[in-house]
Subunit: 143 residues, 2 copies
DNA sequence: TATAATACATCGATGTTCGATGCATAGGAG
DNA sequence: CTCCTATGCATCGAACATCGATGTATTATA
Protein backbone atom coordinates (compact mmCIF):
# COMPACT_ATOMS: atom_id res chain seq x y z
CA UNK A 1 0.00 0.00 0.00
CA UNK A 2 1.46 3.32 -1.00
CA UNK A 3 2.40 5.27 2.03
CA UNK A 4 1.01 8.49 0.66
CA UNK A 5 -2.51 7.15 0.76
CA UNK A 6 -2.32 6.17 4.40
CA UNK A 7 -1.95 9.50 6.07
CA UNK A 8 -3.07 13.06 5.61
CA UNK A 9 -5.15 12.71 2.55
CA UNK A 10 -7.83 14.92 4.00
CA UNK A 11 -10.13 15.69 1.10
CA UNK A 12 -9.07 15.48 -2.54
CA UNK A 13 -10.72 18.85 -3.19
CA UNK A 14 -13.72 17.89 -5.33
CA UNK A 15 -12.51 20.20 -8.11
CA UNK A 16 -14.76 23.13 -8.86
CA UNK A 17 -17.29 22.63 -11.63
CA UNK A 18 -17.06 25.83 -13.60
CA UNK A 19 -19.80 24.75 -15.98
CA UNK A 20 -22.35 24.81 -13.17
CA UNK A 21 -24.59 27.88 -12.89
CA UNK A 22 -24.60 27.23 -9.16
CA UNK A 23 -20.91 27.96 -8.99
CA UNK A 24 -21.19 31.27 -10.82
CA UNK A 25 -24.26 32.40 -8.94
CA UNK A 26 -22.48 31.70 -5.68
CA UNK A 27 -19.49 33.69 -6.79
CA UNK A 28 -21.59 36.58 -8.01
CA UNK A 29 -23.50 36.65 -4.76
CA UNK A 30 -20.21 37.15 -3.01
CA UNK A 31 -19.91 40.73 -4.11
CA UNK A 32 -23.53 41.74 -4.23
CA UNK A 33 -24.92 41.11 -0.75
CA UNK A 34 -23.92 44.49 0.62
CA UNK A 35 -25.11 46.14 -2.55
CA UNK A 36 -28.59 44.69 -2.40
CA UNK A 37 -28.92 45.33 1.32
CA UNK A 38 -28.28 49.00 0.61
CA UNK A 39 -30.65 48.76 -2.31
CA UNK A 40 -33.47 47.45 -0.14
CA UNK A 41 -32.95 50.13 2.48
CA UNK A 42 -32.79 52.80 -0.18
CA UNK A 43 -36.40 52.02 -1.03
CA UNK A 44 -37.59 52.29 2.55
CA UNK A 45 -36.51 51.56 6.13
CA UNK A 46 -36.99 47.96 7.17
CA UNK A 47 -35.76 45.33 9.59
CA UNK A 48 -33.27 42.53 9.00
CA UNK A 49 -35.67 39.74 8.32
CA UNK A 50 -37.61 41.93 5.91
CA UNK A 51 -34.42 42.80 4.05
CA UNK A 52 -33.80 39.13 3.39
CA UNK A 53 -37.20 38.65 1.80
CA UNK A 54 -37.06 41.92 -0.08
CA UNK A 55 -33.71 41.17 -1.67
CA UNK A 56 -34.82 37.67 -2.53
CA UNK A 57 -37.80 39.11 -4.34
CA UNK A 58 -35.90 42.01 -5.90
CA UNK A 59 -33.35 39.72 -7.49
CA UNK A 60 -35.78 36.91 -8.24
CA UNK A 61 -33.57 34.57 -6.24
CA UNK A 62 -30.38 35.54 -8.07
CA UNK A 63 -28.93 36.92 -4.87
CA UNK A 64 -30.46 36.21 -1.50
CA UNK A 65 -28.07 36.91 1.35
CA UNK A 66 -28.52 34.67 4.38
CA UNK A 67 -29.09 35.93 7.87
CA UNK A 68 -25.51 35.08 8.72
CA UNK A 69 -24.57 37.76 6.23
CA UNK A 70 -27.23 40.36 6.84
CA UNK A 71 -26.94 40.90 10.57
CA UNK A 72 -23.17 41.39 10.70
CA UNK A 73 -23.39 43.74 7.73
CA UNK A 74 -26.10 45.82 9.38
CA UNK A 75 -24.01 46.06 12.51
CA UNK A 76 -21.10 47.22 10.40
CA UNK A 77 -23.24 49.77 8.60
CA UNK A 78 -24.49 51.08 11.90
CA UNK A 79 -20.97 51.44 13.28
CA UNK A 80 -19.97 53.39 10.21
CA UNK A 81 -22.94 55.71 10.32
CA UNK A 82 -24.57 54.43 7.14
CA UNK A 83 -27.77 53.44 8.90
CA UNK A 84 -29.69 54.38 12.02
CA UNK A 85 -31.62 51.88 14.10
CA UNK A 86 -35.02 52.09 15.72
CA UNK A 87 -36.03 49.24 17.98
CA UNK A 88 -39.71 48.45 18.16
CA UNK A 89 -41.88 45.71 19.59
CA UNK A 90 -44.46 44.12 17.37
CA UNK A 91 -46.63 41.37 18.80
CA UNK A 92 -44.11 40.52 21.48
CA UNK A 93 -41.28 40.23 18.96
CA UNK A 94 -38.39 42.61 18.82
CA UNK A 95 -37.76 44.44 15.60
CA UNK A 96 -34.84 46.60 14.70
CA UNK A 97 -35.79 48.88 11.87
CA UNK A 98 -32.86 50.20 9.90
CA UNK A 99 -32.94 53.42 7.90
CA UNK A 100 -30.27 54.76 5.57
CA UNK A 101 -28.57 58.00 6.54
CA UNK A 102 -27.50 60.49 3.89
CA UNK A 103 -24.06 58.85 4.07
CA UNK A 104 -25.69 55.52 3.38
CA UNK A 105 -27.56 56.91 0.40
CA UNK A 106 -24.34 58.34 -0.93
CA UNK A 107 -22.64 54.96 -0.53
CA UNK A 108 -25.35 53.29 -2.53
CA UNK A 109 -25.08 55.82 -5.33
CA UNK A 110 -21.36 55.17 -5.56
CA UNK A 111 -21.96 51.43 -5.57
CA UNK A 112 -24.45 51.73 -8.43
CA UNK A 113 -22.02 53.84 -10.38
CA UNK A 114 -19.22 51.32 -9.92
CA UNK A 115 -21.46 48.47 -10.99
CA UNK A 116 -22.58 50.33 -14.09
CA UNK A 117 -18.96 50.43 -15.24
CA UNK A 118 -18.57 46.67 -15.14
CA UNK A 119 -22.03 46.15 -16.52
CA UNK A 120 -20.84 47.80 -19.71
CA UNK A 121 -17.91 45.36 -19.86
CA UNK A 122 -20.23 42.43 -19.29
CA UNK A 123 -22.49 43.61 -22.08
CA UNK A 124 -19.54 43.49 -24.43
CA UNK A 125 -18.73 39.95 -23.35
CA UNK A 126 -22.27 38.93 -24.11
CA UNK A 127 -22.14 40.68 -27.46
CA UNK A 128 -19.03 38.70 -28.32
CA UNK A 129 -20.89 35.45 -27.67
CA UNK A 130 -23.97 36.55 -29.55
CA UNK A 131 -21.85 37.39 -32.56
CA UNK A 132 -20.82 33.77 -32.99
CA UNK A 133 -24.00 32.06 -31.81
CA UNK A 134 -27.00 34.37 -32.22
CA UNK A 135 -30.40 34.07 -30.61
CA UNK A 136 -29.76 33.03 -27.04
CA UNK A 137 -30.95 34.75 -23.88
CA UNK A 138 -33.21 32.02 -22.47
CA UNK A 139 -33.98 34.22 -19.45
CA UNK A 140 -34.01 31.31 -17.03
CA UNK A 141 -32.78 33.48 -14.19
CA UNK A 142 -30.55 31.50 -11.85
CA UNK A 143 -31.62 27.98 -12.59
CA UNK B 1 -4.18 53.91 32.33
CA UNK B 2 -7.00 51.58 31.39
CA UNK B 3 -5.82 48.07 31.16
CA UNK B 4 -7.71 47.34 27.99
CA UNK B 5 -5.58 49.80 26.07
CA UNK B 6 -2.30 48.25 27.14
CA UNK B 7 -2.50 44.88 25.54
CA UNK B 8 -3.93 43.29 22.46
CA UNK B 9 -5.19 46.29 20.63
CA UNK B 10 -3.85 45.03 17.35
CA UNK B 11 -5.43 47.27 14.76
CA UNK B 12 -8.62 49.22 15.37
CA UNK B 13 -9.97 48.14 12.01
CA UNK B 14 -9.96 51.39 10.05
CA UNK B 15 -13.69 51.04 9.30
CA UNK B 16 -14.55 50.51 5.68
CA UNK B 17 -15.40 53.58 3.64
CA UNK B 18 -18.40 52.53 1.65
CA UNK B 19 -18.59 55.84 -0.16
CA UNK B 20 -15.28 55.18 -1.86
CA UNK B 21 -15.35 53.86 -5.44
CA UNK B 22 -12.14 52.04 -4.59
CA UNK B 23 -13.98 49.90 -2.10
CA UNK B 24 -16.70 48.89 -4.52
CA UNK B 25 -14.33 48.26 -7.37
CA UNK B 26 -12.27 46.03 -5.13
CA UNK B 27 -15.33 44.10 -4.10
CA UNK B 28 -16.58 43.77 -7.64
CA UNK B 29 -13.21 42.57 -8.80
CA UNK B 30 -13.51 39.79 -6.30
CA UNK B 31 -16.02 37.90 -8.34
CA UNK B 32 -14.92 38.81 -11.82
CA UNK B 33 -11.30 37.74 -12.09
CA UNK B 34 -12.07 34.21 -13.19
CA UNK B 35 -14.73 35.53 -15.53
CA UNK B 36 -12.44 37.90 -17.36
CA UNK B 37 -9.63 35.38 -17.54
CA UNK B 38 -12.00 33.06 -19.36
CA UNK B 39 -13.15 35.99 -21.44
CA UNK B 40 -9.63 36.79 -22.59
CA UNK B 41 -8.89 33.18 -23.47
CA UNK B 42 -12.20 32.91 -25.30
CA UNK B 43 -10.93 35.48 -27.78
CA UNK B 44 -7.67 33.67 -28.43
CA UNK B 45 -5.01 31.57 -26.71
CA UNK B 46 -2.48 33.57 -24.76
CA UNK B 47 -0.01 33.38 -21.88
CA UNK B 48 -0.44 34.58 -18.32
CA UNK B 49 1.26 37.90 -18.60
CA UNK B 50 -0.68 38.69 -21.74
CA UNK B 51 -3.95 37.83 -19.99
CA UNK B 52 -3.21 40.43 -17.36
CA UNK B 53 -2.74 43.16 -19.93
CA UNK B 54 -5.67 42.03 -22.06
CA UNK B 55 -8.11 42.05 -19.15
CA UNK B 56 -6.82 45.41 -18.01
CA UNK B 57 -7.53 46.80 -21.46
CA UNK B 58 -10.81 44.96 -21.92
CA UNK B 59 -12.26 46.36 -18.72
CA UNK B 60 -10.59 49.76 -18.99
CA UNK B 61 -9.02 49.19 -15.61
CA UNK B 62 -12.30 48.24 -13.93
CA UNK B 63 -10.97 44.78 -13.24
CA UNK B 64 -7.33 43.93 -13.57
CA UNK B 65 -6.45 40.72 -11.76
CA UNK B 66 -2.90 40.60 -10.41
CA UNK B 67 -0.43 37.86 -11.16
CA UNK B 68 -0.99 36.42 -7.74
CA UNK B 69 -4.51 35.71 -8.92
CA UNK B 70 -3.94 34.72 -12.52
CA UNK B 71 -1.34 31.99 -12.17
CA UNK B 72 -3.15 29.98 -9.49
CA UNK B 73 -6.37 30.26 -11.45
CA UNK B 74 -4.72 29.04 -14.64
CA UNK B 75 -3.28 26.11 -12.75
CA UNK B 76 -6.72 25.33 -11.43
CA UNK B 77 -8.27 25.60 -14.88
CA UNK B 78 -5.63 23.28 -16.25
CA UNK B 79 -6.26 20.71 -13.54
CA UNK B 80 -9.97 20.79 -14.31
CA UNK B 81 -9.50 20.43 -18.05
CA UNK B 82 -10.75 23.90 -18.92
CA UNK B 83 -7.52 24.88 -20.63
CA UNK B 84 -4.57 23.21 -22.33
CA UNK B 85 -1.03 24.48 -22.08
CA UNK B 86 1.68 24.81 -24.69
CA UNK B 87 5.12 25.82 -23.50
CA UNK B 88 7.25 27.84 -25.87
CA UNK B 89 10.52 29.74 -25.75
CA UNK B 90 10.59 33.29 -27.04
CA UNK B 91 13.85 35.20 -26.90
CA UNK B 92 15.20 33.11 -24.09
CA UNK B 93 12.05 33.58 -22.00
CA UNK B 94 9.64 30.83 -21.21
CA UNK B 95 6.06 31.26 -22.18
CA UNK B 96 3.12 29.10 -21.32
CA UNK B 97 0.34 29.63 -23.79
CA UNK B 98 -3.08 28.66 -22.54
CA UNK B 99 -5.97 27.71 -24.81
CA UNK B 100 -9.58 27.06 -23.80
CA UNK B 101 -10.93 23.57 -24.30
CA UNK B 102 -14.53 22.98 -25.28
CA UNK B 103 -15.26 22.52 -21.58
CA UNK B 104 -13.70 25.89 -20.91
CA UNK B 105 -15.81 27.50 -23.60
CA UNK B 106 -18.89 25.97 -22.11
CA UNK B 107 -17.93 27.29 -18.67
CA UNK B 108 -17.60 30.79 -20.04
CA UNK B 109 -20.98 30.64 -21.70
CA UNK B 110 -22.56 29.61 -18.41
CA UNK B 111 -20.75 32.41 -16.63
CA UNK B 112 -22.01 34.98 -19.11
CA UNK B 113 -25.53 33.68 -18.73
CA UNK B 114 -25.36 33.93 -14.95
CA UNK B 115 -24.03 37.45 -15.10
CA UNK B 116 -26.76 38.54 -17.48
CA UNK B 117 -29.32 37.62 -14.83
CA UNK B 118 -27.84 39.96 -12.24
CA UNK B 119 -27.16 42.60 -14.82
CA UNK B 120 -30.90 42.92 -15.25
CA UNK B 121 -31.29 43.43 -11.50
CA UNK B 122 -28.56 46.05 -11.50
CA UNK B 123 -30.25 47.88 -14.34
CA UNK B 124 -33.36 48.16 -12.22
CA UNK B 125 -31.36 49.58 -9.34
CA UNK B 126 -29.95 52.22 -11.61
CA UNK B 127 -33.39 52.99 -12.98
CA UNK B 128 -34.60 53.57 -9.43
CA UNK B 129 -31.88 56.16 -8.88
CA UNK B 130 -32.44 57.82 -12.21
CA UNK B 131 -36.12 58.19 -11.40
CA UNK B 132 -35.35 60.47 -8.48
CA UNK B 133 -32.28 62.24 -9.86
CA UNK B 134 -32.28 62.16 -13.66
CA UNK B 135 -29.37 62.79 -16.02
CA UNK B 136 -26.42 61.11 -14.38
CA UNK B 137 -24.10 58.53 -15.93
CA UNK B 138 -20.84 60.49 -15.90
CA UNK B 139 -19.05 57.49 -17.43
CA UNK B 140 -15.90 58.03 -15.43
CA UNK B 141 -15.14 54.32 -15.35
CA UNK B 142 -13.40 53.34 -12.14
CA UNK B 143 -12.01 56.65 -11.04
C1' DT C 1 -48.09 19.60 21.25
C1' DA C 2 -45.38 19.78 17.51
C1' DT C 3 -44.21 22.65 13.56
C1' DA C 4 -43.55 26.64 10.95
C1' DA C 5 -42.88 31.46 10.59
C1' DT C 6 -41.00 35.49 12.56
C1' DA C 7 -36.83 37.79 14.40
C1' DC C 8 -32.52 38.43 16.31
C1' DA C 9 -27.42 36.94 16.76
C1' DT C 10 -22.76 34.42 16.59
C1' DC C 11 -19.03 31.54 14.90
C1' DG C 12 -16.12 28.48 12.28
C1' DA C 13 -15.32 27.07 7.58
C1' DT C 14 -14.77 28.06 2.81
C1' DG C 15 -13.52 30.58 -1.14
C1' DT C 16 -11.47 34.66 -3.67
C1' DT C 17 -8.19 37.95 -4.33
C1' DC C 18 -4.23 40.93 -3.09
C1' DG C 19 0.40 42.23 -2.19
C1' DA C 20 4.84 40.99 -1.21
C1' DT C 21 8.37 38.22 -2.47
C1' DG C 22 11.27 35.33 -5.26
C1' DC C 23 13.59 33.76 -9.57
C1' DA C 24 15.31 34.78 -14.26
C1' DT C 25 16.30 37.10 -18.91
C1' DA C 26 16.55 41.05 -22.22
C1' DG C 27 17.27 45.72 -23.35
C1' DG C 28 18.01 50.53 -22.71
C1' DA C 29 19.53 54.59 -19.84
C1' DG C 30 23.01 56.70 -17.40
C1' DC D 1 29.32 48.60 -16.39
C1' DT D 2 25.60 48.99 -13.62
C1' DC D 3 21.00 50.11 -12.65
C1' DC D 4 16.33 50.00 -13.84
C1' DT D 5 12.40 48.56 -16.36
C1' DA D 6 9.72 45.23 -18.85
C1' DT D 7 8.82 40.61 -19.50
C1' DG D 8 7.46 36.13 -17.57
C1' DC D 9 6.69 32.52 -14.27
C1' DA D 10 5.41 31.10 -9.39
C1' DT D 11 4.19 30.86 -4.22
C1' DC D 12 2.37 32.18 0.23
C1' DG D 13 0.23 34.57 4.10
C1' DA D 14 -3.16 38.00 4.98
C1' DA D 15 -7.53 40.21 4.30
C1' DC D 16 -12.15 40.01 3.25
C1' DA D 17 -17.03 38.21 1.98
C1' DT D 18 -20.31 34.98 2.53
C1' DC D 19 -22.42 30.58 4.04
C1' DG D 20 -24.39 27.19 6.95
C1' DA D 21 -25.12 25.58 11.29
C1' DT D 22 -26.46 26.73 15.64
C1' DG D 23 -28.76 29.18 19.36
C1' DT D 24 -32.54 31.96 21.63
C1' DA D 25 -37.45 33.44 21.75
C1' DT D 26 -42.30 34.41 20.62
C1' DT D 27 -46.59 33.68 18.02
C1' DA D 28 -49.71 31.33 15.09
C1' DT D 29 -51.24 27.17 13.02
C1' DA D 30 -52.20 22.36 12.43
Amino acid sequence: MPRSSMHLKPVPRPATDYTSPTYWNGLIKMSLSKFFILNALYQQPMHGYEIARTVEEMTRGCCSPGEGTIYPVLKDFEAGGYVTVMSEMVQGRERKVYALTELGRQAFRVAVSSWMDVTRCLKESEAMLDAEAPSETPDTCCR
